[in-house]
């Protein structure tokens, strides 16, 4: 099993609903977030292009954060989801430094926190809160090992990219372009 997410930049309007839904679902303290929205603008008026991306932990196959964690707090669970065990985490921040996506933050309670693909929902057969809430339905989620899953289907059909492929992390969040 290999969980992955595909996000359609052609449909995303950058409303940040994914951010609030994550905050309320996962009790993320105000002022912090596990996912966020990036807008990149290119060109000169009136030949302008805009790409909007909802970003989060990429749950990399080759996760630098897991490799550098001195206590084993950062680990990979079934389905390739990168997790942090709060009471094993000493808050050293090595993982924060190693992540090329800046996907981790120091929780005020003293541990490092980040997106879990809402693993507590996955184990009950659900989908991440951000995927469930998105008004434009621009997020697709599922098992890449299942060719029939919506994420496999959409990646087979559409052009996509990943962020910072040169980092060699083999990220599992895909952006449809």
């Amino acid at each position: 099993m290999r969980y992955a997410m595909a996000i359609d930049t052609k449909k995303c309007v950058g409303c940040s609903d994914c951010v609030v839904a994550c905050q309320t679902e996962n009790n993320v303290p105000i002022g912090y977030c596990r996912d966020w929205v990036v807008e990149s603008v290119a060109g000169t008026y009136p030949l302008v292009e805009l790409e909007i991306r909802s970003e989060r932990c990429n749950h990399c196959d080759n996760a630098p954060c897991v490799r550098c964690c001195p206590t084993g707090a950062s680990h990979i669970v079934e389905g390739g989801v990168v997790m942090v065990t709060p009471n094993k985490c000493i808050g050293c921040g090595a993982c924060i430094q190693s992540c090329p996506y800046d996907a981790r933050y120091s929780h005020p309670d003293g541990y490092v926190d980040k997106c879990t693909f809402c693993y507590h929902r996955l184990v009950k057969g659900g989908r991440p809160a951000c995927v469930e809430v998105c008004p434009t339905r621009c997020m697709y989620f599922g098992d890449l090992d299942q060719p029939q899953s919506e994420v496999s289907q959409i990646l087979a059909r559409r052009k996509w990219k990943v962020l910072a492929p040169e980092a060699g992390t083999r990220p599992q969040v895909y952006f449809l372009v």
């Binding site: 609903d17 905050q23 009790n27 809430v133 008004p135 434009t136 339905r137």
Partner: protein
């Protein structure tokens, strides 16, 4: 300046009313770690309560969840609701923040003079309600009940509107008409014999071509529409966006027309010209349903794309190409009527041009165009007939704006002014759920009117700017803590939704229905409020509709079968429109009869003076007007607005990204607070842009105070729409002030 009503900042009311223990925002400041969260989630939530959202007028139905301690944890959409299909927008999801906001109004407040200084004194409900009833009674006796007006937005207006009508006044107004969508509905009414309504019956789901004119769907988070637009993108529909700004919608569009601001009407007329003279219009539809085609054809003969080029700066080829795209998709095409359309004062005429375009394309009543919405009439809970008012808002505006179908807020404001003694017919205001100072432009007139009225009652959940002018402030509980009227919305399928409380009202706040009933009882109008609890009303209404409170608590939303016929015209169907001619009036006889242009005529609008830029304002998806600016969850996403500046302009002024500047208009008004500069290619060089609703001047809004600039205070010039009294607000210009302006007189 000594005034009868000093502007009072609401003082902290102490901890007396504090109901929540360890910090009023325990929900997010709790110590729970991930493991606890997961355990809680695994254990299942304690409760799920149906509601419909009050954060904006889209009113999506959803579920409020509470944990085992009964604390509200989150809100999700109701999957059966056609407004949201189970997916709330960020504001709806962040609605929990409205409940937890520690700046909420906590107790009734009464303006009193203490040691020569006016201040708000916390009061008990009996004292406050007795005072309100007494003042209303007195003013009603002296000047008639009609002298009391209600300014409202959203649900509280239902209850206070009922109270006002029972008292004998029909002077009820909402800024959503004259400051927002009035021109559109008026333009539609004189063309199609009906308004557009809300939610707009745009069949975006099935459209092949969606045309947006200054309507930034996606930034205005009108949930169902955003969802359908995303579906349309998925299906490969052609999007055409007209906007001086490269909006989010523009970035999704196949065609973006970067129009010079204020010239939209010229483009629309040129499109009409192309459709007619290239014979691209829907001939059968036009012959069957419309009136005045030949007159229109003659009217637009010289309004060519080449003519429009000189005005709009859009290439004639692009104008022709986009007109052909619309015609190719017709009748599955929507030229969107927009929503906030009070721009330049000729807005009804612009709405008319949009209506005419839709008629020529045959989209009204066609699949992929506009569907015929239907709603369920909710019966009124039995009460005596309302007394007939001796006069009402119609009498105030009949001469001036005969075609305004609803009360024009600014007319009622002017009718409250002392200096026009003859017209000083409004003596008291009730303001429920609308923050007028950040809504109605022409600050001076508004402030004078608020000084001149003899009594001003404000009902709100938050200490908004309007509360500072009140004699009595009544704290309303949030929508998550109350029952309210049923939502009955016009949609593809008629449907109703129930709102019920998920928690007891926090502090000493109360639902509006309760306040209205209490006042009604005190005013001797008890027979209009013949129930102990609002659930009595709901239970009775739901029984009439063949359902029950119990069922609605479980389903939240109930759909009903259509009884008015199909969603669209059937092939060859004849139809009589509610207009003078019974046809869709391309030539509007109603406008001709009242002395207005029967067909739209482009007139140039004022240009910014040298060194000034047109102030364009809009929406952000995470905020609603000025009312969410203090919501902890939503300010976390966006806590201030930026002024968008084109890089060429920024170079000229030496501005840098992230720098704070003040804005100043030619009339000399300087923004109260500085605003952050965002240098971006997404805006033209003759305009600047900002999101509306920021720059709160109210210290008690601890998160919103002083964050960003308030566009409304910079609107010194308003162009009134002669047809319906709308306040055109896009004719204002600003320049940059990079130095700190001289400190203003400290507010009392």
């Amino acid at each position: 300046m000594s005034t009868r009503r000093d502007f009072i900042k609401i003082a902290a009311t102490g901890l007396g009313g504090l109901a929540l223990g360890a910090g009023s925002v325990a929900w997010f400041r709790g110590t729970s770690r991930w493991a606890e969260t997961a355990a809680k989630a695994a254990a299942g939530f304690q409760g799920r309560f149906t509601t419909y959202c009050e954060i904006c007028f889209w009113n999506c139905a959803g579920w409020t969840y509470t944990d085992e301690e009964g604390r509200i944890t989150r809100i999700t959409g109701n999957a059966g609701d056609p407004h949201c299909h189970g997916r709330l927008c960020p504001r709806g999801t962040g609605g929990v923040g409205a409940y937890y906001d520690e700046d909420r109004l906590r107790t009734p407040l009464i303006r009193k003079e203490v040691n020569g200084k006016q201040k708000f004194v916390p009061a008990g409900w009996d004292e406050a309600l007795d005072l309100v009833a007494e003042r209303l009674k007195e003013i009603s006796r002296k000047h008639g009940p009609e002298s009391i007006a209600l300014f409202n937005h959203g649900s509280p207006g239902d209850h206070f509107g009922h109270l006002l009508k029972a008292m004998g006044s029909n002077n009820i107004t909402a800024p959503s008409f004259a400051q927002c969508r009035g021109p559109r509905d008026t333009g539609w009414y004189v063309t199609f014999g009906t308004g557009v309504g809300s939610p707009e019956p745009t069949d975006i789901r099935d459209t092949r071509c969606l045309v947006l004119i200054g309507s930034h769907i996606g930034e205005n988070m009108h949930n169902g529409q955003v969802q359908e637009m995303a579906d349309a993108i998925d299906r490969g529909a052609t999007l055409i966006t007209v906007d001086p700004r490269f909006s989010t919608a523009a970035s999704k569009s196949r065609f973006w027309l970067p129009i010079k601001p204020s010239t939209d009407l010229a483009l629309l007329m040129a499109w009409i010209h192309v459709l007619i003279y290239e014979e691209l219009y829907n001939r059968d539809y036009v012959e069957r349903y419309t009136y005045g085609f030949d007159l229109l054809k003659e009217h637009v003969w010289n309004m060519t794309p080449e003519w429009a080029y000189g005005i709009t700066t859009l290439q004639p080829a692009l104008i022709r190409e986009t007109a052909r795209q619309m015609a190719n998709a017709a009748p599955s095409v929507i030229v969107h009527p927009g929503r906030h359309v009070t721009w330049y004062g000729d807005d009804t005429q612009r709405a008319r041009a949009i209506a005419i375009l839709n008629a020529l394309l045959g989209s009204w009543g066609s699949r992929g165009g506009f569907y015929f919405a239907e709603s369920v009439p909710v019966p009124n809970y039995p009460h005596p007939e309302y007394p007939t008012p001796a006069w009402s808002w119609q009498d105030l505006q009949r001469e001036k704006y005969p075609l305004a179908g609803l009360a024009v807020s600014n007319v009622l404001v002017e009718a409250s002014l002392k200096e026009t003694e003859a017209n000083r017919r409004i003596r008291a205001w009730m303001v429920a759920g609308t923050n007028l100072p950040l809504t109605i432009p022409l600050k001076e007139t508004l402030e004078q009117a608020m000084q001149d009225v003899e009594f001003l009652l404000v009902v709100d959940t938050m200490p908004m700017e309007i509360t500072g002018y009140a004699d009595v402030v009544l704290p309303e509980c949030t929508y998550l803590e109350r029952y309210d009227s049923l939502r009955s919305s016009a949609h593809r399928e008629p449907n109703i939704a129930l709102r019920m409380p998920a928690a007891e009202p926090m502090y000493d706040s109360k639902p509006s229905w309760w306040m209205a009933k209490q006042l009604g009882d005190r005013l001797g109008l008890g027979s209009y409020f013949n129930y102990a609890d609002y659930t009595d009303v709901l239970e009775w209404q739901l029984q009439q509709l063949g359902t029950s409170l119990e069922e609605m608590k479980k389903t939240g939303v109930k759909k009903f079968p259509r009884t008015s016929g199909p969603l669209y015209f059937q092939k060859g169907e004849n139809y009589t429109f509610n207009t003078n001619t019974g046809k869709i009036e391309l030539y509007a006889t109603e406008l001709a009869a009242t002395g207005y242009d029967p067909m739209p005529v482009y007139t140039p609008h004022e240009e910014p003076p040298p060194g000034y830029y047109r102030l364009i304002y809009g929406r952000a998806p995470m905020h609603t007007f000025s009312r969410t600016a203090n919501n902890p969850n939503l300010t976390d996403l966006m806590d201030q607005n930026d002024v968008w500046v084109n890089p060429r302009v920024a170079r000229l002024w030496g501005l840098e990204n992230g720098q704070y500047v003040y804005l100043k208009n030619p009339e000399g008004i300087v923004s109260s607070f500085p605003i952050r500069v965002r240098i971006t290619e997404r805006i033209r060089w003759d305009s600047v842009y900002m999101v509306h609703g920021f720059g709160h001047s109210w210290k008690k809004l601890s998160r919103a105070y002083g964050k960003g600039a308030n566009d409304t205070e910079l609107m010194s010039k308003v162009t009134i729409d002669p047809v319906m009294g709308g306040t055109g607000m896009r004719g204002n210009f600003v320049t940059f002030v990079t130095e700190e302006p001289v400190a203003k007189e400290a507010e009392s």
